[in-house]
Structures are given as C-alpha cells and as structure tokens.
C-alpha cells in the first residue's frame, strides 16, 4: 500500500489551495493511497530507453503573424469577476498583515 499520510494530503491541499476539514483529509488519504496503488504499475514498463510522449500528435513551430486580433474589452474581461474596480480585478490582500 502506498504511504500517503494525512499530513501529506494536508500539504498537497495547501499547495493546491483547497481548504480541507479533518474528515476530508482522512478520507482523501485513504482514497489516494488506494488509487496510487492501482496506477503505480506504469513504472514497471517505463524503462530508460522509452522516450516520453507529452502530446499525442506532435506539432512544432506553431506560429501566427504578430498582429493584434480580436481581444476582449475591459468590460468583457471583467464581466465575470467577483470584484472589480477602475477596469481592474480587485483582489484581497496579497500579504498577511503580521
């Protein structure tokens, strides 16, 4: 069984910016260990001689002309924002006061 502790999940949840209750952390730790066990067989066949594929149909040098195309107006871009002011997204404090 893969070792995924409740503390590991708490750390991952913090990295992923998802607040989790104690109960959620416990449940997630169990489920993740179970899922990781089921998928870890991939390393059995992934020898050093096998190249990695990141993209199913490889394309390279996809460029376009450097001209301004259709762009959203500030009103359109802000139309779904929870909070906005002076044509800008308004965010809560970036830094903690302490």
């Amino acid at each position: 069984m893969a070792e995924i502790t409740r503390d590991d999940v708490a750390h991952l949840a913090q990295l992923a910016r998802i607040e989790m209750s104690a109960e959620e952390l416990d449940r997630m730790a169990g489920e993740l260990a179970h899922i990781v066990d089921a998928v870890k067989s991939v390393s059995e066949v992934a020898g050093p001689d096998v190249p990695a594929t990141s993209h199913p149909i490889a394309l390279s040098n996809v460029f376009r002309e450097d001209v301004v195309g259709h762009v959203l107006t500030p009103e359109e871009a802000l139309s779904g924002a929870p909070d906005a002011e002076d044509s800008r997204f308004k965010v809560p404090a970036i830094l903690d006061e302490e």
Binding site: I4, D8, V9, L12, A13, Q14, L15, A16, R17, I18, E19, M20, E24, M28, E31, L32, H34, I35, V36, A38, V39, K40, S41, V42, S43, E44, V45, A46, G47, V50, P51, A52, T53, S54, H55, P56, I57, L59, V62, R64, L72, E76, A77, S79, G80, A81, P82, D83, F89, V91, P92, A93, I94, L95, D96, E97, E98
Partner: protein, 511 residues
C-alpha cells in the same frame, strides 16, 4: 411520438430544404419535448428557448425569400442542437457542472459555437455533465445527475451523460460532447446513441473548458453515423486560436458515411479489450457485430496491444496532473465564485482556499490533489514521467496493430448502464468504465461508438467501438455506416425505437 423529434438530423435537413416543415416547427417540437420529459431525464442545465426560436425563424425567412442567401444556407441550417455545458457560449450560462462557475456567462464563444452560429443551427441549451467532465456517470455534476432514458434509475454514462441522454430521449437530434477518456463514447454506448471522438486536433478545443489539454477533444453526438459525420465536418477544421489544431482537411466524412463499405477491409479485434471485467451480454453483442462485418466482406484479424493494460494507470496520472494545472485558474479573482473564510485574515491565499473548498466537488478535489501529488518533487519521475513513457508504448501498440488491421474494434464500455449510486463511493470502480476508451485519447487516434444492440441479461444498450489511425476519421464513418445498416436491418429500425416511452405519452405496462 411526433415524427419531428424522432427524425435524424439528415432527415430533418431534407424536410427543411424542401420546406415540408419549418425550422421553427422543428425547434418548437424539441423545446416541447424538453418541457415534457426533462424533469425526469435532467439532460439540460439551461434551455435556450428564445435564441433557439429566433435563429429558427431567421433560417425560415431566409429560405422563404429564396435566392442566393437561401442557396448559401448550410445543409444543417435550422436543425437544432444541444451543447455540453463545458463549451463556452455567449448569452447562455456555462457552468462546467460546477458550483465554482454557477451563473457564469462567457464573454466569448468557443470556435465550435462560432461555426454553429454561422451555419445557423438553433442551440436548444446546455447539457449536464460530471463536474469539469470528471466522471463516467454524470453523478459528479453539482446540479444533480442525468438519468438514462432507457431506465431512469440508471446512469447515462459520463461525463457527457446530458448530451447523450438528450439525443436518446429525442430532446435534440444532435449534440456536442467532449471526450478526454471516453466522455463522448461511453455515454453513447450506454444510451444507445452514436458518439465520436475525432483525431486529436481535428476539432478546435478553443472555448472548451480544459480538463486535460493533451487528451481533451470536442466531437459529435447523434442518432446516426451520417449525422455524426455531418456534424464533425461542420465543427472541424484548422483554428489559429488552438495551437494544437491540425491543418489537415477532414471534409470527406459524410461522403464516407454515405458510401459505407467493408469489402476487403481488415478489422482487428483487440485481444486486451475484452474478457475479464466485461459483461457477458456486452461480449455477446460485440461478437454478433464482428460476425455481421465478416459476413459483409471484412477480413477479421486478432491484434494484441500488450501495453493497453497500463493505459488506465497512465491516464489516471497524466489526466489529474493536467487537471491540477488547468483548474488552478479558478482562484476566486477573475470569474466564478468567491468565498471568504469564516474567520482570520482575508488574504488572497485564504480566500482561494475557501473558494475552492466550497466551489469544487469531491471528484474534482480528488483529481487536483492526485495531480499535485504526481507532479511533486520526488514522485515526478516515478509517476508522471513513467506515465508519459507508457503513452509512447501505447502509441507503438497502435502502430503495430494498424500494420495488421485497417481499423480496430472492441466493446465501447465493459458493462451496460449501472444503477445510479452504485459506484459513486468507489472511485476506482468508476474509473474502470473507461478502460476501452482511454487508449485512443492517450494516442490521439479517433474513435467512434455506435449502438450494438441490447444485452440479454438486462435489455440495456451495448456500444461497439471502432478505432482508426490518427487523421483517418473517415474510416470510422465508412465502416460504422455498414455496421449500422446491417444492425438496423436486423432490428427493423433504429435501436432507440425499442426504448421505453417517456413523459405524458407513457402508457400502462411500459417500464
């Protein structure tokens, strides 16, 4: 039942072009059907009544006026369509099945929506899905599950259960889906409809809210092979807004569907996509389909894809890794929900944590955390790195198989539709539904699911999957059309004619 709703898109297009019916009548008939049955089916999250009727009337008046404008109308002009709610649409909400986007309206249209508007297909509304397309049952929708029109206590597949159920319940003749690991094909299989995942890049992904960008593909959902071909031609083509979009031409699909043939075609049965875990009735219908194709002149061969057994594992590492990155944009700042923490300082980090905790459902959280784990230092090589190598091995398996066969065949899903709730608390059991569909996404090759009949043990639809080499989407339609016509000749009509009656037309004795 009203013939306007049971007709295929091709039949409707014909009736519209000869002015036997108006688009307004056709569109209204579907809106009436939605009003009648969608309370029980719950395929739609939003019904777009006014805009749909306005577009229908516009098509009718252009046609009535005649002349160049009427002649220039797209063959599918006036044929209504439903849109999976993962695809952004100006003027209608787009939720992705998630609380985090509840009520959000996109300021721009997806490329496929621009094409549908240009061709003047009335959009009936937005269809239900598992949250951000994560699931195989539509039960992970934040807005409640869709029900399978064949048995309202069973799942319609997922993630595109809404689109498949809408088409199966005659609420729409056509729909758009998205397929990351089977989300078009598996719902097609369990609802007795047709669903196609085109070659990766054949249809622009611009405006499909990304789940796993290297796997996602928009495609057609319909009740016939020809309808799917017509719709793929309409939505496909190169798009400079999607840098993974192919420049190849895919304009021979309807022609392939109209000229079905398997004469001398080598059809490969994939040894690994069957046996353990596959329901007996699914395998029986699959074997019947193979025998029909053999009888029609196909050469049946067996192929082996030994690395397919690692596909599910690779998929459940690559997909969540991409999910954890793609869903980082839901931060409570630019769009969607913002939730303030109950106490403590109101910093952006804590607002994000509270917003994402309230906005995402269990499966989205599970995949984000799993992806964050797979990409973290110390695990990256063992998990994400290995999974990418497996992807290469699966592509090589396909390459070898397509040396021996022109097209591959398998059951689409291992089972028929299961009861709602049965696998909701067992993520791994849920993931196994996609075992036969995932390899195509990992390799980028096109796949099609069509109805193969009903399983003996439960009387529910079985799907048959065809897989072709990348860029050879036309082969799916050419072979699919043959199998469809052979099966429908056996059944005496489309499989959906055997589906139970829904809504107020329901009479005694019908389940």
């Amino acid at each position: 039942m009203n013939e306007l709703i049971t007709s295929t898109a091709t039949q409707l297009a014909e009736k519209l072009s000869t002015k036997e019916v108006s688009s307004e009548e056709v569109t209204q008939a579907h809106l009436d059907r939605i009003a009648e049955v969608d309370e029980e089916v719950h395929a739609f999250l939003h019904v777009n009544t006014e805009e749909a009727l306005a577009v229908a009337r516009e098509v009718d008046s252009l046609r009535a006026a005649g002349g160049d404008d009427a002649a220039a109308l797209h063959p599918l002009a006036g044929v209504p369509i439903a849109i999976k709610d993962l695809i952004v649409t100006v003027g209608q909400p787009t939720t992705a099945g998630s609380r985090i986007l509840e009520g959000w309206k996109s300021p721009y249209d997806a490329t496929v929506i621009r094409k549908i508007r240009a061709a003047k297909l009335p959009m009936l509304g937005k269809t239900n899905l598992d949250e951000f397309a994560m699931g195989s049952s539509t039960e992970h929708s934040a807005f409640g599950p869709t029900r399978n029109p064949w048995d309202l206590d069973r799942i319609p597949g997922g993630s595109g259960g809404g689109s498949a159920a809408a088409v199966a319940a005659f609420e729409a003749p056509l729909a758009l889906g998205t397929d990351t690991g089977g989300s078009i094909r598996q719902p097609g299989a369990v609802t007795g409809t047709v669903g196609v995942k085109p070659t990766y890049g054949a249809v622009s992904r611009y405006g499909a809210i990304a789940m796993a960008s290297s796997l996602d593909q928009i495609g057609p959902v319909s009740r016939s092979i020809l309808d799917a071909a017509l719709l793929q031609e309409l939505i496909g083509g190169h798009d400079p807004f999607d840098s993974t979009s192919l420049t190849d031409s895919f304009d021979n699909l309807a022609e392939a569907a109209r000229n079905g043939s398997v004469d001398g075609v080598r059809i490969g049965i994939v040894k690994e996509l069957g046996g353990e875990g596959f329901q007996a009735g699914v395998e029986a219908r699959f074997r019947d389909a193979v025998e029909l194709l053999r009888g029609a002149g196909a050469e049946i061969v067996e192929v082996s894809c030994p690395n397919f057994k690692y596909a599910l594992g690779a998929y459940y590492l690559i997909m969540p890794s991409e999910v954890s990155s793609n869903l980082a944009k839901f931060d409570g700042v630019r769009y969607g929900l913002r939730v303030l923490p109950k106490d403590g300082p109101l910093t952006i980090e804590r607002v994000m944590g509270a917003t994402r905790a309230a906005g995402f459902g269990d499966e989205a959280k599970r995949r984000i955390i799993l992806g964050t784990y797979a990409l973290s230092a110390g695990y990256y090589d063992a998990y994400y790195g290995s999974a990418q190598k497996v992807r290469t091995l699966i592509q090589r398996d396909f390459d070898a198989a397509f040396e021996k066969a022109d097209i591959l065949i398998s059951p689409t899903a291992p089972t028929t539709a299961f009861p709602l709730g049965e696998k909701l608390d067992d993520p791994l059991a849920m993931y196994l539904n996609d075992v036969a569909t995932i390899p195509a996404n990992l390799a980028g090759v096109p796949g099609l699911s069509l109805p193969g009949g009903l399983a003996d043990e439960d009387g529910l639809p079985v799907g048959v999957q065809l897989l072709a080499p990348a860029r050879e989407d036309a082969r799916l339609y050419k072979v699919g059309a043959v199998l469809e016509s052979l099966l429908e000749a056996q059944w005496g009509g489309p499989l959906l004619a055997k589906a139970p009656v829904l809504g107020t037309e329901k009479t005694g004795g019908v389940k």
